[in-house]
Amino acid sequence: MAGGFSKSDIGGILAKQGILIAFVIFMIGFTIANERFLAPENVMGVIRSSAILGVMALGVTFVVISGNLDLSVGSMMSFSTIVVLDLHDKIGPARAIPAMFAMTLCLGAFIGFLVGYLKLNSLIVTLGMLSAIHGLTLTYSGGKNMDIANKGETWFAVFGQGSFLGIPVPILIFALLAALLGMVLGKTPFGRKVYAVGGNGVAATFSGVRTARVVFTCYLLSAFCVATAGLIQASRSLGSQNTVGQGLELEVLAAVILGGASLLGGSGTIFKTIIGVLILGFIQNGLLLVGLQFYAQYVVTWVIIILAVWLDIAAKRGRLLSPIA
C-alpha cells in the first residue's frame, strides 16, 4: 500500500491519537462555519472560561488515577463560591479566602477519610456528598443569592477579571497549578504512588505503599483545586446562585476521561486532562457560535464522551474493534 501503512497501523494510530484528530477536525469545521472562531479574543475567552473547569479537572485527575471517582466537585465548588462571597463582606477578602480554603479542605478530608481509610466505595460516598454539600450550601446561604455589596471597590475581582501581561489571571492560575500538579504527578515519589494505587491497589499495599494515605491526599488535592475554582468563579461575577457548580462534576469527569485517564485508575496525565478540558471548552463555544441550541450541545458532549471511552478501550487492546472485551 502506498505510504507503507497497513490497515492495522492506521487503526493503531487512530486508537492512540483519535481524540486529537477528532479535535482538529472539529476545530477546522468550526473555523469554516464561523471565521471568528479562531479570533484571538474568542480563543482567549474560551480558555478563560475553561479555566474554572480545568482547575477542577486537575484535582479530579489525581482522584481518577488513584482508581476512585469524585462526583462531589460540582456542589463543592458552589459551596466554596457561596462561602467566599458571604465572608468577603463579613470579614474582608484577605481573611475570607483562607477561611473558605480551610472549609473546603475539611470537606475534602472528610471524603478522603471515608474513601481512603474506611475503604468505602468512592462512587457512593461522593454521590452522597454531591447532595449533602448542596444541602450544606443552601443551609448556609438560606437559599439566597450571594452578592458582594460594593462590586466596584474590591481587589477581590483580580482572580477572575484581572489580567497580567495581557493574559487573564484565571488562565495564569490554571497554567501555574497545572505545571505544579503535573510535576507532582510525573516527577515525585507521591505521583508514582498514585499510579501504583490506581493500577493495582493490592500490589501497592504489599510493596509498602500506604494506600489509604495516598487516596486521602488525592481527595485533599481535589478539594484544594475546587476551592481555587470557587475563588475564580466568585471573583469573576462577584455574586452567585447556589447552583453555580451544578452539573460540573460530570463535565469535569468527561474532560478527565476525554484526556485519556482510565476510569479504572492507573493511567492518565495532567497534560492529557488539559487537552480534554480544551476540547470540551472549544466544542461548546463552537456549537454556540454556529448557533446550535443547548439541547444539541448536551447530545454532542455525550457523543464525544462515548467516543473517548471507546478510543480509550481501543488504545488499551491495540485495535478499534475486538471480538472480546
Partner: protein, 318 residues
C-alpha cells in the same frame, strides 16, 4: 429495612406530626412546591407563604417541597390526598407529569390550585384555578420597554437584539419568549432579533452565552433575558468585553438587577414579587374554599420597572 419502607415510614411519621398539630383552623390546605432553595425567588415565596398562613387564623397548611423531583411531587400529592386536606396548591415541577396526580386529587373531591407556573393544557379540566404571573404579558411588556427605549434613542429602525431565554422546556421560559417574540415586531417592526439561546436561569451560563454572542455579532443594541439573573450575567460579559451602550431588559426583577439599574447599567425589567405570588396563591385557595367565583386564570399584576420609575418600587429582597 428497604429504602422504600424507610421512606414510607418517614413520610407517615411526618404525616402524623402534621395531623397531631391539627388545630381548630377552618381550612387545611396542602402545598407542594417546586424546589425551595434553588433560587431566591422560591425561597422568598416559601417564607412568604408560611407567614401568610401564620397570619390567618382560619387556615393551617401542610407545606411540602418536591426538591425539583417530579416523582417526589407526585408522591406528595398522593400523601396530601390521603391526609384529606381541603385544597391542594401545586407549583409544578413538570407541567405534564403531574397531571395524573392532579386528576386523582380532583376525583377525591379536593380542589387543586396551580401556582406560579401553569400545568399543561391537558390537565386544565382537573384544576380549579391558576394563580400566578402572566408570563406572556411579561414577555410582551419587556418587548415594549425595549422598543420604547430604542425609540427614545432614535435607533428603532436599525437596532439588533439578542435573547437569552430560560430553561428549555420550562413553561415560564417558553411563555416569556413567546410574549417577547410576538410583541416586538408589533411595536418595533424594524428591530431584528439576531438569535435566541437558553441561559437556563443561570447567571454563569448566560455570561458564557453572551460572550459567544459578542464574538459573533459586532452590533448588538439590546439584550432581552428571561430573568434578571441571566440579564446580569449578560451584562457582566458585555462589561468584560468593553462593549458599551447595550440596552439590557430582563424579567423578574432581582436585587442584582435593581442595583444594576440604579447604576445606570441595566435598563429595565418586570417587577414580580414572590410575596405577592405566595399571597395570591393562598388567597385563591381560600376563595375557592369559601365558594367564591374564581377566574380560571387568576393573574396578579407584574408591572414594568425601568431606570425612570424604579424609585416607585422597593428593592427586591431576593
Amino acid at each position: 429495612m428497604t429504602l422504600r419502607t424507610m421512606l414510607t415510614l418517614s413520610t407517615a411519621m411526618a404525616g402524623l406530626v402534621f395531623a397531631s398539630s391539627a388545630s381548630s383552623a377552618e381550612y387545611r390546605i396542602g402545598i407542594t412546591q417546586n424546589n425551595v432553595g434553588v433560587d431566591s425567588y422560591q425561597t422568598t415565596y416559601d417564607k412568604a407563604f408560611k407567614e401568610a398562613v401564620e397570619a390567618n387564623d382560619n387556615v393551617e397548611a401542610v407545606v411540602l417541597d418536591a426538591g425539583g423531583d417530579v416523582a417526589r411531587q407526585i408522591a406528595q400529592i398522593e400523601d396530601l390526598i390521603q391526609q384529606q386536606v381541603q385544597a391542594i396548591i401545586i407549583w409544578p415541577t413538570n407541567g405534564e407529569a403531574v397531571i395524573p396526580a392532579v386528576r386523582k386529587a380532583k376525583n377525591a373531591g379536593i380542589p387543586v390550585i396551580v401556582t406560579n407556573s401553569n400545568i399543561a393544557e391537558a390537565g386544565f379540566d382537573f384544576v380549579k384555578s391558576f394563580s400566578g404571573p402572566d408570563n406572556i404579558t411579561q414577555g410582551s411588556r419587556s418587548a415594549e420597554i425595549m422598543c420604547d427605549k430604542f425609540k427614545e434613542m432614535g435607533i428603532e429602525t436599525t437596532a439588533q437584539v439578542v435573547q437569552i431565554s430560560g430553561q428549555p422546556g420550562y413553561t415560564t421560559a417558553i411563555e416569556r419568549q413567546k410574549g417577547f417574540d410576538d410583541r416586538l415586531p408589533e411595536v418595533c417592526p424594524d428591530v431584528t432579533v439576531l438569535e435566541t439561546q437558553p441561559g437556563d436561569w443561570n447567571r454563569e451560563k448566560s455570561q458564557k452565552v453572551m460572550e459567544a454572542f459578542l464574538v459573533k455579532y459586532d452590533k448588538i443594541d439590546g439584550v432581552y433575558a428571561g430573568d434578571d439573573n441571566m440579564g446580569v450575567g449578560a451584562l457582566n460579559a458585555a462589561k468584560a468585553a468593553g462593549r458599551e451602550g447595550i440596552i439590557f431588559v430582563g424579567a423578574t426583577n432581582f436585587a442584582v438587577g435593581y442595583e444594576a439599574m440604579g447604576k445606570g447599567e441595566y435598563w429595565g425589567s418586570i417587577y414580580q414579587s414572590p410575596v405577592d405570588d405566595a399571597k395570591a396563591a393562598l388567597k385563591t385557595a381560600i376563595d375557592v374554599l369559601d365558594g367564591k367565583e374564581v377566574p380560571f386564570l387568576n393573574y396578579f399584576d407584574t408591572p414594568k420597572i425601568t431606570q425612570d420609575n424604579m424609585s416607585d418600587f422597593t428593592k427586591p429582597v431576593f
